[in-house]
Point group: C2
Chain length 323, copies 2
């Protein structure tokens, strides 16, 4: 696809062009990286989707939730993109959204766009690519971008850094214990949504919701929250219950944050953060070219053999890189 066609296709909201664009930003090839940068620079910056970060461990019904929630939004004539940030795929080569059949109906919906997570990369790379994929979806005029991640360690932080609001999806717990959700994740959440509030689990879902509502009240008040937020609520993705309330709450929150300037400030701070991350990434990537790796190996052998001290060797290497 020619550059102009790719760019115009994305701006027109063409899903094929968008998919191509994302493939481009995901590529590690230097010529692709150049084209991707060109593309990002050429796309309009005045379109802003609502970026919803969504985390939940396997088993909480994340796919079902995204499918039902996404379909509800498309029925309201909103265009929805679903992306995944999957740190585990770095090792396994697998991908949490690789199986599109997980969201069968949504994937056939013309107003929806589902993109599996990129694999075979470390979290730093995954993060940058996902962030650029979000930018492409925004430029393509999507109204909502859902950024999904599994609840393991660092990936929530990465997703939160590219989201306007963060949703933590949980399953009803057996007793009154909080399901080992780390304090840091709790503090990140704007909405805690207890899924599977249906059938036999309805009571358990309500109790779990009450537990989390209590836990949220114990957290320090954040300036970016209006009265009543962060909040805990129950939904049933399967019975499509409570999803409209969740959507209303999200809109209420975002309207307040926009009016008070928090949305704008967060976006600006996030852009600065990604800029600095990207600079660091690019500086360190200078070690990864074949020539650099070879020079590093040679020097490393000499350092290991005691011929040259680590600092002098590092100095030599960086001096050589720079000129």
């Amino acid at each position: 696809m020619k550059f102009e066609d790719l760019k115009n296709g994305i701006i027109a909201g063409d899903r094929r062009a968008l998919a191509r664009g994302i493939t481009l930003v995901e590529s590690a090839r230097e010529d692709h990286r150049s084209r991707a940068a060109e593309l990002l620079a050429a796309l309009p910056k005045d379109r802003a989707a609502l970026r919803i970060g969504l985390s939940g461990t396997p088993g909480v019904g994340k796919s079902t939730f995204i499918e039902s929630f996404g379909l509800m939004l498309t029925k309201r004539d909103l265009r929805v993109a679903v992306l995944a940030v999957d740190p585990s795929s770095a090792r396994s080569g697998g991908s949490i959204l690789g199986d599109k059949t997980r969201m069968d109906q949504l994937s056939r919906e013309p107003r929806a766009f589902i993109r599996p997570s990129p694999s075979q990369s470390h979290l730093g790379g995954v993060a940058r690519r996902s962030r650029e994929a979000v930018a492409l979806c925004e430029a393509a005029g999507f109204d909502v971008v859902l950024i999904e991640t599994v609840g393991v360690g660092q990936s929530e932080t990465v997703v939160a850094e590219m989201s306007d609001l963060f949703l933590l999806l949980l399953a009803p717990a057996g007793g009154d214990e909080l399901q080992g959700v780390k304090r840091g994740i709790m503090e990140m959440a704007d909405l805690i949504v207890i899924n599977k509030a249906d059938g036999e689990l309805k009571g358990a879902a309500r109790r779990t919701c009450a537990d989390y509502a209590g836990a949220l009240r114990l957290l320090r008040k954040r300036p970016q929250d209006p009265e009543g937020f962060p909040l805990a609520m129950t939904v049933s993705a399967i019975e499509e219950h409570g999803l409209d309330v969740a959507w209303e709450k999200m809109q209420e929150l975002m309207q307040w944050r926009r009016a008070k300037g928090f949305w704008q400030r967060t976006r600006a701070a996030q852009a600065r953060y990604w800029f600095e991350q990207d600079v660091k990434h690019r500086l360190l990537a200078q070690m990864e070219t074949p020539e650099a790796r070879e020079a590093l190996e040679t020097l490393s052998d000499r350092v290991a053999g005691g011929e040259i001290d680590p600092s002098s060797a590092a100095r030599d290497f960086v001096a050589r890189l720079r000129g």
Copy 2:
């Protein structure tokens, strides 16, 4: 001091020259950094001290242990240097060895050299400087370099990466609980030394020692350990009891590791590690010059304002840096 005098003074084991040299490697000034690199490159690489990493939380009697242990070594005609890696000084500006009176006798001993930890820097910088200070002490012909750290988080890992053996100092516990020592730290230790095995605490020290001996047996066997290691033992630094046994055990361990080639392999791997760390540090330091900071600020403002995307801005910045 002239460069040649500094170099020759260190090689001759002169403590004033050594102190000057360490001040040089600790400095952040660019001209000092250059001179420090020159110095490190010019010093002999064929001297090897026994590098002992030593960790213990405040209250376990670390200073008393170092004083008694150090004096025992100097009495055996060994030259002992004591350095500190203190991550907390980065924030507080304080220093765990700042108060030399803590090791009153040892500091007056001509065969000993005590150096407070550098302050006002982040752990990355502290680590590099400490590693270079160790190299200077070795070049100055010290037989033993004790590298002290407080038991908080990452600093043990940093110290272990510059040590031949790692000693964990503990106080007797009240009951039979293991004093919340993290598994990672346990796995790092070659010797666990329970201090204060004197007076009323003697029994508690023995029980604590037995607990740790049991815990050590549950850890996976490491290839670099001969039969009987890692081990737990009791000492009394105040009564100068057990210190000779600890020293014998350390020598036994190191003789075995040297004979089997583990010492050599570990040193080589550590040198490679520090080389890579140093390269990364230097690459990222390109962001820290006044001109770079100014360019970063300007671009960051434009990124925050939505004029330019983070990736393009990062690309521009790095391209400008490189030429």
